[in-house]
């Protein structure tokens, strides 16, 4: 199969919501000696981009996005281990987490998916994460982008605390912080000293591509 046809197959498996198809296409790409980075960026990511656009336009909804994300990860699970370590040193890094006090993580999981589709290696801190865990972990690992999420208003303060701890530990100037979740707003992002707030995970990744992340490796 030609490289173009394989890339189309990878993208199609994601946008057609076919996890087994994505895994099979990724295995086929490796068998055909395709560069795994190219298979990800010009195959899986293109498919996820299409899904992201359809979600933004309300032509797809969350059930379809979750299945598409599963398809992408099925492909990534095959392709990522095949990338030579030397090729990973310039990769963009991001962290995502739901702040302490909140366990609603669907939004965070979508952000993780879109960041991965945007070419980031993402560390998922999970849900109900203490401000210090994110602030210190990201400083230690020199994470470039930190995405904080919450569904609930009482836990918004823990977003502020996380950003405050990043200032305290001296890493705030070296990273980009974005926030999201229904109770947050652009004004709240300014108030707590985050760089950006977005309603949509896809738009957040587009914003990041237009605003080069700070610091990192």
């Amino acid at each position: 199969m030609s490289e173009q046809a394989l890339l189309k197959k990878l993208a199609g498996a994601v946008s057609n919501l076919d996890p087994p198809g994505a895994k099979a296409a990724a295995e086929e790409a490796l068998k055909e000696k395709m560069d795994p980075v190219e298979a990800i960026n010009k195959g899986l990511v293109i498919g996820m981009d299409a899904v992201s656009d359809m979600y933004a336009d309300r032509r797809m909804y969350l059930p379809q996005v979750l299945v598409a994300a599963h398809a992408m990860y099925e492909g990534l699970d095959v392709l990522l281990p095949a990338i030579p370590k030397a090729d990973l040193k310039d990769v963009k890094t991001a962290a995502c987490g739901v702040v302490q006090g909140d366990v609603h993580d669907i939004g965070k999981n979508i952000v993780k998916t879109m960041l991965t589709a945007g070419g980031y290696i993402v560390k998922d801190y999970g849900k109900d994460v203490a401000p210090g865990d994110i602030a210190d972990g990201c400083k230690k690992e020199k994470t470039q982008v930190i995405c904080l999420s919450t569904l609930m208003t009482p836990t918004m303060d823990n977003m502020a605390k996380t950003v405050a701890l990043l200032r305290e530990n001296g890493y705030r100037g070296s990273c980009t912080v974005t926030i999201g979740g229904p109770p947050t707003s652009a004004a709240f992002a300014v108030e707590i000293g985050a760089d950006h707030r977005d309603e949509s995970a896809g738009n957040c990744v587009k914003w990041l591509s237009e605003h080069k992340p700070k610091g990192g490796n």
Binding site: Y61, L62, P63, L66, H70, D105, I106, M152, P154
Partner: protein, 352 residues
């Protein structure tokens, strides 16, 4: 003679013409200031019927709102059926930590819905836990405030409760991959929602307000709402001897007619739907409740912002002026009072 708060809210629920709508928050409204005023804070007010009733009445007793309402979270039913919980503290709400059933659409491993009745027989459901707390609170609130105020009781919608029990992300995923399995689970959950709603009414509530946030259009398409939520809300809200309100978060423009199709007395919508557009889409099919924004202006705005939003909802023709969703507990007292003041001093816009 001035109209009582109760008569005004009942008239509004029946869409009768009024000189002004009531300021009546049918979604949760139990701020820290309210907890302090009445001496019934979280987390005790989630589990103690007397404290739940006291906090539920604080909105009328101290803030001039024209109805009373309890409980204060969407986890009572899930905990009763078997979810492990963290009950939180004065400023953090109860949270579900684990789900009692296995439901893994990625690996096609599903518990059968019959396990639900094994875990919690329907006939026992309303007899214990915080479900019973809320039912008992209705009796107290009816006794202490029912003569002058409409008593709202809250319950959780079947798709949302099902997500609590199975893992919401897995349930939502399966709407695409295993829709019949998803439907069979939501169908099995709906009778529990019905039993709770009926018990709330039977014990003193005048209105049951169901919240179904997981069926928001941020999650399900309108077509998916029609098959995954609407029929089960309809069964769960087919209640006797009382009225019903269905609340769904987000931009509900695409599902407002379907929300009314469930047969509820009224619906509650957020500020993500423009007030005028909501009234137009609702097309007088039933009571319309809302839609003053919770994060903004109630939580983060000024009293002037709140007054403007409340007046807009009233100008547009909402029957009850309420928060668009659950009121954040850190909402300043001045903003609640601004909502009440704006509604109580509202005059219909001049025609012309």
């Amino acid at each position: 003679m001035a109209m009582s708060c109760r008569d005004r809210v009942l008239a509004a629920m029946h869409c009768e013409p009024l000189d002004r709508p009531p300021a009546a928050i049918c979604t949760t409204c139990d701020t820290i200031d309210m907890m302090d005023c009445c001496g019934a804070p979280w987390p005790e007010a989630h589990s103690d019927p007397e404290k739940m009733a006291r906090l539920g009445c604080a909105q009328a007793d101290y803030f001039g709102l024209e109805s009373v309402r309890a409980g204060f979270c969407l986890t009572e039913e899930a905990e009763r059926i078997g979810c492990k919980m963290r009950m939180g503290n004065k400023t953090s709400s109860p949270m579900i930590l684990s789900h009692p059933f296995n439901y893994d659409p990625q690996h096609k491993k599903f518990d059968d819905p019959s396990k639900l009745a094994e875990a919690m027989p329907l006939e026992d459901f309303v007899k214990g836990g915080r479900v019973k707390t809320a039912i008992d609170a209705m009796e107290i609130m009816h006794r202490t405030h029912g003569e002058n105020y409409v008593v709202f009781g809250g319950n959780t919608g079947p798709f949302t409760l099902c997500g609590h029990l199975l893992n919401a992300e897995s349930l939502i995923y399966s709407v695409w991959t295993d829709i019949e399995m998803a439907k069979s689970w939501v169908a099995a959950v709906a009778p529990y929602c019905h039993a709770f709603g009926q018990a709330l009414l039977d014990n003193g509530a005048d209105v049951v307000q169901m919240s179904e946030p997981s069926a928001s259009t941020d999650i399900l398409s309108p077509d998916e709402f029609k098959v995954m939520s609407k029929p089960y809300v309809k069964k769960a809200m087919a209640l006797k001897n009382g009225m019903t309100i269905l609340h769904i978060c987000g931009d509900t423009r695409g599902i407002i007619p379907y929300m009314y199709d469930t047969g509820v007395t009224g619906i509650s919508v957020e500020e993500k739907v423009d007030s005028y557009e909501a009234v137009k889409i609702a097309n007088h099919r039933g009571t319309l409740v809302g839609n003053v924004g919770c994060a903004f202006p109630l939580f983060k705005g000024t009293p002037q912002d709140v007054e403007a939003a409340a007046k807009k909802s009233a100008d547009a023709g909402f029957n009850l002026i309420s928060a668009g969703c659950g009121v954040p507990i850190g909402t300043p007292a001045s903003n609640i009072l601004a909502l009440v003041h704006a509604v109580k001093t509202w005059k219909p816009p001049a025609k012309g």
